[in-house]
Symmetry: C2
Subunit: 410 residues, 2 copies
């Protein structure tokens, strides 16, 4: 018997009729003779409702208690789905993180999974039950409830699939799969049949909101095949898997963008050992995640340092940087929240030259100025003025032939 892990997101279980539809899909998979483990997110906007309650109480609610609060969202959805399955005469049982158990570290709000005990799940599976596990939540070594951060249910699902050595981890969502780019801003966007873990990792971390980055890391590490598909249709979605030969023919697999960052530049920083550390230590201590960092060394022992941070942390970061800039005798601090990062991703870049040059030319042809550039083995990101985002995505998508199925052999 195959072991199939199915994860349903918040929109897939948004109300009782949708939960019933999910139950029927599970009933079919179970009826086909598979062992089925289901991982659920909270219903629709439930997590936001709970967050709002907490923010009514305090601007910075206690993090431990926040996790106790928001983990109820998944507890509600798993119990409702188990009831629904039982009413359809499918034997099912809900399990919370502490019952499984899904052990995490104690970083409330963004905990990382340390270990999953598969015994309880296997025991229930072997008695013929559909096992429904609350996603997003964990329990630390003191028995405190933790949560894995936004999108954490994806990671729960993949980690459980890894622990069970499942045949596949199906991620049901409100889109049909992983697209070459965001269909909302580019009508030529096309669903990918397959994508490698590495490409998906870049896609996820660069702004394609289909899968939580950590879930893909997990899948890659434990070689769990992921099938991203729609919970509202029966069609095949996108398989995220190890790189194979077929994939090599595509130079670029997708174009992503991220409008949620802001840019800060510190000018004329004395170019001495330790200045970068002094600049970034307070930022990291404030739990602000820095994305790109670029430093230009001039001729006069002074350097300009530019970096990007999440827009939500912009004011806080700016305050911290201004204080440090003064201390280290930098000249000025320039800030720009109106930026966006546009990226192209593809494992084919490894063996193809000229990809970066094409990207820069395409953007230049549209009069789009590139403020920052960052590259990795399989992606190139450019920071541009925010207002050009959609245009940039469309011209890049077109330039690399992503809309034309014939050109791409997958």
């Amino acid at each position: 018997m195959a072991v199939i892990v199915q994860k349903y997101g918040g929109t897939s279980v948004g109300d009782v009729p949708k939960i019933k539809a999910v139950a029927r899909r599970i009933q079919d998979t179970h009826g086909d003779g598979n062992h089925v483990v289901v991982v659920l997110s909270a219903m629709g906007r439930e997590t936001d409702r709970l967050l709002d309650l907490a923010l009514d109480i305090s601007d910075e609610p206690d993090k431990r208690e926040m996790d106790v609060l928001i983990s109820t969202g998944e507890q509600v959805s798993v119990s409702l789905l188990a009831m629904t399955l039982k009413s359809l005469r499918v034997n099912a049982i809900s399990l919370l993180a502490h019952q499984v158990k899904i052990e995490t570290d104690s970083a409330f709000g963004r905990a990382r999974i340390v270990k999953i005990d598969s015994d309880k799940i296997l025991e229930e599976l072997s008695s013929g039950k559909v096992v429904i596990v609350a996603g997003f939540q964990g329990v630390d070594d003191r028995g405190d409830t933790t949560t894995l951060g936004r999108g954490g249910s994806d990671t729960s699902a993949v980690a459980i699939a890894a622990a069970l050595k499942a045949d596949v981890c199906e991620i049901y969502t409100d889109v049909e799969g992983v697209y070459t780019t965001d269909p909302n801003i580019c009508s030529e966007a096309r669903k990918l049949e397959r994508i490698s873990y590495d490409e998906m990792l870049e896609m996820a971390s660069l702004g394609a909101r289909v899968l939580q980055t950590r879930s893909v890391e997990f899948a890659k590490k434990f070689k769990v095949p992921i099938h991203v598909r729609s919970s509202f249709q029966d069609s095949t979605g996108t398989i995220v898997t190890e790189e194979d030969k077929d994939m090599e023919s595509a130079v670029v697999s997708g174009v992503t963008y991220n409008k949620d960052e802001a840019k800060i530049t510190v000018t004329k920083v004395p170019n001495r050992p330790g200045t970068a550390s002094r600049l970034f230590t307070p930022i990291s201590q404030a739990d602000i995640v820095v994305d790109m960092i670029i430093q230009n060394v001039g001729t006069d022992d002074l350097t300009d340092l530019t970096f990007t941070i999440p827009k939500d942390d912009f004011e806080k970061a700016l305050r911290l940087v201004k204080a440090t800039a003064k201390e280290i005798n930098a000249q000025d601090v320039l800030a720009d929240p109106n930026i966006s990062k546009v990226s192209i991703i593809g494992t084919g870049m490894r063996s193809h030259s000229g990809v970066a040059a094409t990207m820069f030319t395409v953007l230049a042809n549209e009069g789009i100025n590139i403020m920052m550039i960052s590259t990795s083995e399989i992606k190139i990101s450019c920071v541009i003025e925010s207002k050009y985002t959609e245009l940039a995505v469309r011209v890049l998508h077109d330039a690399f032939g992503l809309g034309e199925k014939e050109k791409i052999s997958r």
Copy 2:
């Protein structure tokens, strides 16, 4: 340092402003140098909201999953209160039943507490924290979530107070204490300063909805003093405690009523061993709780059997009884859902004669027919036509002098 357990009901934590008010009260108690353990119900109508979700799925939702679902209500309220206290710089921690742990049997929806481990609570108290425990919920020996039934948070609070040997268990509610009768139907109703466990037990089981019956049984067994008081006022409420000499002077302490029952009579039942058993076994198997049972033996080996059951179970019980009545050759089944039970309660009845006679006379004077009578050492209940309920309560309250403070020495 005194150990004080405070329990707040759903109306006391109905919204964020009310939770903040509760937090300030706890802050004061904690600031006065007490160890404070708080037990909470779910916010206002939250439990009903969750029940409605479940009933959207199935008329008879799976009981195990139902408990997983509705126990989230308390999880939300304890985390919100802990956040609020922390924002007031009071160190606080929320604990769920499985963290405490509060062990129960596996009777989902109406579980009974088997054992409470006080170690975790004591550990947190000794580090100066206010400990906030989710009421209403427990965990069975398999680690499954259970709930204690409506009003179960009272029982959680008293059981925790017993386990901690607390100095007092304060039950905060939306009324000022325990009244001689329902102030909504009798303007003369008066708040009692003290009441014995036994009287409170009768009051609770006979329809005064201030405390869950089982919480009073627990309090009696472990001699936990309960202080029933208003969460919206600072005044002293009612102390529920062991019987003392002062209490003896009152013959009757209170008048209660219950409109939630229905009456079924089986006529001309062959008076043979085993017939009662055959009648009541199917009813008990259907989980219907029978309250009063009265049997009149006639002269001709035939008897009439009358009993009351919750109105919610009326149709179901009637169906079962009609089937059995046929089997045992009874003549007829008569049903009456329009009844109510009016009771007078008082430990003083033990040493006073004529109380029953007074009750019957008072009702007769108003032309109220008594259909059934049931007595215990400290209470007399009469089943009457439902429409006379309020009248009966008022005349009994008056006849036993409950409204006149001078006549009663407490």
